[in-house]
Symmetry: C2
Subunit: 319 residues, 2 copies
């Protein structure tokens, strides 16, 4: 099977009208008058961002969803995507499952395939997605806009995917809650529903993909501020809570591990109530976990007793 | 060096204003009123699309130029790009050269870096570029629009890169002309200057990246027509002509090998003279090599004597 056959059989049926049936070298996209096109790009490599033997439909879903998560954090509505896919073999069963996974999320998120490229590689499978979203002109939610006094919010629950990865690797055994944690690692839930609330109320937002601690540190640095986080307020799922128990190292893993794909947002105090209400209407749980403060130092984390807690640098660090 | 340091050191200095200094998860792009945004995506893998030990600035240039070539074929003006870069090591000298190569073409083609992603891979280096161009609304030149009676044109010269690859591999020895052929393989020259002439005069166009024979066959199939090509009219460089001589197999390699990045265009007969004039003003040589005809059969190739010539399927085929 050559590249054209592969595209015709597996990808052309997925292409939206603007993908021109994937018969052309290019796709067209336009933003309606008064809108900006937001672009984001996230690549996944087998053995790095997913396991080679993960179900191919889950790999496809993850590749789209990590990009949908970025769009949501920017307040953007999904508009479409292009995908560059590097394959080391032409495995028809794998391709059928992969494109089935794409199709499901293309439909679930009204997120058409516009174009792309398929290439051979002697290395691991790599999927690079460039995603497009729409925002009303000038309303993209920046990462750089957090201000001292803002309330710091996070969506959903933190640490499930990091613990799911540990469960998957056999490092921990989460019992009954394990399947939920592994599922959260395998297929993230992009917080698409939160984008309008972020546009209306957030000074700054980003998605948490490299761990809460690292990503918060990043958002504070580029905003030129710092933050205080109340660790007891960080939302944990029942499964995460059960497996963490009193294990401080596991709690640190939950806070510093990656793949949460939740949204971190800085909200002006006078907008906090409206933001919470908008999030509730969008059925996305949000929790205040701290406050933005003036200063250039790294964020401070306070334990239940109010004592400062230090994390060593990097993911999977210990107390 | 972590990903943030790498981006800050090597890529942020290249980012255009819309790249937001690469401090955000996303970039913004807008098409001026009355324009469409054309999107194209081409990925290159070390060991497949370039040699691992090619100069890193040439690899960067090729990654951009294969996409600029697609935009030119669509009649689009370069607008900007995002790049996903998978690296197996953090080699600072390589990265410095790679980003120097990007910078040179960002400036040469007024083609700003808007965003991207850098990831680690245990495999070969991979560079996936998604490129954006602008066309006046509804004026993208399609691949699918060739009509019976159109004149078939190609820009520049054909086969240089395929012969340059053979020279590079030691399969042939092209003597004095060898350096030119290798350079054509290493760093293609996107025909950006031809885009306005294509918009004004072409029914269909595509860039020749997988060999003239294969790509013409593809353009005819998606347009629902066929073509007759006069082989003696296919433009060859002096270097290609010298090394090919009477060697029919090498001539076939020139016609079926890839990496030309020239433009194949179908032009209505009453537009041919205006197209040639516009191309001349744009200083891009164009040559008529045949004619589009009705029918669904593969294109026919005629020798100098008018006899039909058959090529076996695929690249590097023989008579």
């Amino acid at each position: 099977m050559n590249e054209d056959d592969l595209i015709a059989r597996y990808f052309a049926p997925l292409a939206g009208a603007e993908g021109l049936g994937l018969l052309d070298d290019a796709a067209l996209v336009s933003a309606p008058s008064g809108h900006d096109l937001v672009i984001t790009c996230d690549a996944l490599v087998a053995g790095v961002h997913f396991f080679e033997h993960d179900p191919a439909d889950a790999i496809a879903a993850k590749a789209l969803r990590v990009n949908l998560s970025d769009l949501a954090a920017k307040g953007a509505t999904p508009r479409g995507f292009v995908v560059a896919l590097a394959l080391n073999t032409y495995d028809e069963a794998w391709l059928a499952a992969f494109t089935r996974g794409l199709k499901a999320d293309i439909e679930a998120f009204a997120f058409p395939l516009l174009g792309g490229d398929t290439v051979k590689t002697p290395g691991p499978v790599m999927i690079s997605v460039t995603a497009f979203g729409l925002v009303p002109q000038g309303q993209m939610v920046p990462r750089t806009g957090a201000r001292a006094g803002d309330a710091l919010y996070v969506s959903g629950t933190i640490g499930d995917a990091a613990l799911g990865l540990l469960e998957r690797q056999g490092t921990i055994s989460a019992g009954q809650g394990g399947a939920h944690l592994v599922a959260r690692y395998l297929v993230p839930e992009p917080r698409t529903g939160l984008s309008a609330a972020l546009r209306a109320h957030a000074h700054a937002a980003m998605d948490v993909s490299d761990g809460l601690i690292g990503d918060l540190t990043k958002m504070m640095r580029v905003s030129g501020v710092t933050a205080e986080v109340y660790l007891s307020d960080v939302p944990l799922s029942a499964g995460a809570r059960a497996v963490i128990g009193d294990d401080e190292a596991l709690f640190a893993s939950a806070l510093s591990g990656g793949d949460d794909y939740e949204i971190l947002a800085a909200i002006a105090p006078d907008q906090a109530q409206a933001f919470e209400q908008a999030a509730m209407l969008a059925r996305v749980p949000v929790t205040q976990i701290g406050r933005i403060e003036a200063g250039q130092t790294p964020p401070r984390f306070l334990s239940r007793s109010g004592a400062p807690v230090t994390f060593s640098k990097g993911a999977f660090s210990h107390f």
